[in-house]
Symmetry: C2
Subunit: 107 residues, 2 copies
């Protein structure tokens, strides 16, 4: 049903962004999107890790934080990072987080 709401980044306070990034599953999703570009929910966060409904909720959190944009393509939902926008609003934050996350990846 719902076509998703993607907030204007000016309306997203910094703690919301950091909170969204401050979860290992979501951070992994963000990393995957950074590495691979647009991905389906399933590919961005394999279901072994969390239940399908939890995963869906993680994407909701990421969207609400302005970190991810999701569009529907057939029966799939493709998400991608809002990199430039985010970098304009909060310069360096996403970049440094992604750089820091690189050496943590355990897959």
């Amino acid at each position: 049903m719902s076509q998703f709401v993607h907030p204007n980044l000016n309306d997203v306070p910094l703690p919301i962004v950091l909170h969204a990034l401050g979860d290992s599953v979501r951070l992994q999703i963000v990393q995957n999107l950074a590495r691979e570009g647009e991905l389906s929910c399933a590919k961005a966060a394999p279901e072994q890790i969390v239940a399908k409904s939890t995963r869906s909720n993680h994407f909701k959190v990421l969207r609400a934080a302005g970190i991810v944009r999701t569009r529907k393509a057939g029966r799939i939902y493709l998400s991608s990072l809002r990199r430039e926008e985010l970098d304009e609003r909060y310069p360096g934050v996403l970049d440094s987080v992604l750089a820091a996350a690189v050496d943590q990846a355990a897959d």
Copy 2:
């Protein structure tokens, strides 16, 4: 009782750091410490905002995330940012967060 535990930053995963920063009260504490240097708990986070016990817990979270170091001085506990260490472990993260937080401050 407890003399505080301050983890080695190598033992602190990135999501823990981001989670600690992803709360408006804690972020404000961090900003205050960045601006003023070493501060007592009370000065870093005035009690009007949250209960004393909550504030105490926020500091515990910040310590566990390796963001803050606390030492006892008389009946006061002085906390300060672990800036250099944090910057060595996660370059740019704290700096960009502090820079981004500046224009958000509402006091």
